[in-house]
Amino acid sequence: MRLSLGFILALSLAGLQFLAILLFVSTSYLTSERAMLQHAQNLMSQAVKSASEQTRLFLKPAGDIAVEAARMMSSGVIAPDDVPSLEIFLTQKVLTEDYVAGVYYGDEAGNFVYVMRSEGPGDLRTKIVTRSGTARTTELIWRDDAFSIVEAGFDPQDEYDPRTRPWYDAAVADRSLIWTDPYVFFSSGKPGITAAAPVLTEADGLIGVIGVDIETDDVSAFLADLKVSEDSTVLIMDDAGRVISHPDSDQILVENGGSGFRLAEISELEDPVARQAFGQTDLAETLAARVDQRSDVVHEGQSFLALLTPFQGIDVPWTIGVHAPENDFVREIRENRRRNIWIAAAISLATALVGLLIADRILRPVRAFAVRTSLISQGEVPSDTPLPTTYKELQRANETLINEIAQRRESESRVSQLRRQLFQFSRVDTLGQLATGLAHELSQPMTAIVQNVDAAQSIVSKRLPEDQNLREILSDLDEQAHRGGDIIAALRGLVQKDEGDVTTFDFQQLLEQTVGLVQHEATEQQVRITLPVQDNALVHANRLQIAQVLLNLMQNAIEAMDQSANKHIAIETTARDAVLEVRVTDSGPGVDANVKLFTHFETSKPKGHGIGLSLSKTIIEANGGHIWYEDAPDGGSRFCFTVPRAQELS
């Protein structure tokens, strides 16, 4: 199917527009999305750094307290066995920071002084375990914030021995500040950890251990405030996968088989993204590698960015994780892109419409031209109809077209005029020519008869005695022969009327028009016809009769070449003195030497009746020329005839 120019124009206009916008939108989208994701990674890195730093700052004072207290006791500023002073000292330490839940001191003998925050009856509670041999006492003292005793008593059931506690063992083993694993404080039910520092003699002998309890609730609180993006989550885990802090601190604690609470593991969190992002990771390994670990997580069709980084600054085996939905960073860009694509589509549609309008505008003259041209070609309007306002190119095309049409019309009309004339002529003339031909053919034997009669009469007249009967017979014979002659003369009269039609005409032109008559047949039979190039070919003859002869010869040639591979008719003309000699040569098989050409009723054609060539002979001779046959050099046949040239007769 051939598309309309207008459709192509509009389509390509809109298509190009759409492609250009799409390209622009998508590249800007890709770069800005990449930039935003890069930015998101940076934000997340900063968030975990910040979380790490804040946590460090949060833990450090507890460590400092432990180390400071241990040093003061080592140096003897605080005597380990001076329980009242120790109690005061420890109380001061508890009150240093809000999140310090309690400070205590245990020694190698199993003595223990512990000051902790209390919910009642006083703000603080002191527990003092004193051992003497196998005897032990446990005293509990509650005080208000002014250090006045609110209540005091003993707890005979208490069996607490500091030396059996993990913090004690770790500090003793390590001989320096240690941090315990996170756990849930028995007394407060809150998660926390303990910093423990050994109290050593100058000779590095162990006296006891100072412990500082801190609650890690607050870490969760500030992690909740630490936002990378709207829906981001920062959490801290230890190397065993326990969750130390999470913005939603309620999730951290799980019931521990009916005996209080324990810290939740990652897999127990109600945070599915965290479970997916960090649950499968070997946190100990991440810690050992000391590198950030990024991952992308898809949860319920939504993409999340996740980052896991080892906690630094304090010697605890913790990692900080952060996850945030990708959309928090690129949602706007994506929405923007969607909007842009819609805009692009709308612009393209608009452009296409405008394109259609413009194309229609551009095409209107072309369409008008096409309609006009088709009307002209169908002959419904004359070709000189004024051209509507149009383009220069079309105008030029139109001029060429009009010229072409005019020329073709003229030559067609000449050819068809000749065809009409020939049709008319052949109807009227074939009979006449036949009569002439018959007259000519009959006149020859008739002449012979008359001559023979005359000869016989001569012989009879010289013989004596004269045979009267024979004389009369011969006389009768002579009369009858002349009657025949009269009939022949009458036959001749039939064509006399055509003979006034002799004119001077251009033979070349007639030849071209006659070729026009057989052109269709020639093309169908794939016959090539070549014509002479001659300028001055004025002849004086009966134009239609000469056309008839040319037509006969060409049709004969076309028929003769029916079975030939190479089909070619060459027509040549040569001016010789008073005549123009015309040669019609074909590439057919030639004519059998036994066939007597130009004679009535003899033919070499299976379907011919032998009149064409005879008629041609009659016509040519009647026009003062003659016609003959030659074998063509390459085996075909060549018919030649002459026509009087104009200057000799005019």
Partner: protein, 210 residues
Amino acid sequence: MTNPDQTAPTVFLVDDEQEVRATITRALELRDYPVRAFPSAEAFLEWYTPEVPGCLVLDYGMPGMNGLELQKAMAKKGLSLPIVFLSGHAGVPESVQAMKGGAMDFILKPFRQNVLVDAIDKAFARDAATRVQFAKEFATQVKFDRLTAREKEIADFILANPSATSSKHIGRELDISPRTVDHHRARILEKLEVTSVAELITLAGTISPD
């Protein structure tokens, strides 16, 4: 066919149709006409020499050179043999052409024998007259050819100016003495076998100017 001698006029028949050629030849010979027949114009042209008297009976429509063309070719060669055309066609234009070219007659086939015989007799008469005239001209020409260059000059002057034939006048014009003119004039009259200038002018009128 009889071999035509120098004096007997002969009918030269040219026709491509063998039957026609044979029957006409036979009929004419029975009427005591010497006949020589040719199958084509070319054959006739090749054979014929102008010394042979007679006439040409010529078929108009023939392959190769046709009758009209032979007529033209003969005119071109200066052959004055009279021509009687025979034709199977009744073409008015061709008969007009033939007659314009000096044909004696244009006879349509078939024809009554007396028509042909009359035409032949007329043609023979014309040929004979032509030959007598030609012979006279030839004799006169021979006489003129006897004159010397000077005599010829004077004779030409006399013929060109028949009103100024005095010796004085001629001598002045040709820058010679009247006596010399008189001498030449006498020689001219003697050579041309005439007795007066008037006779000289009459004699000169019998030959075609060359």
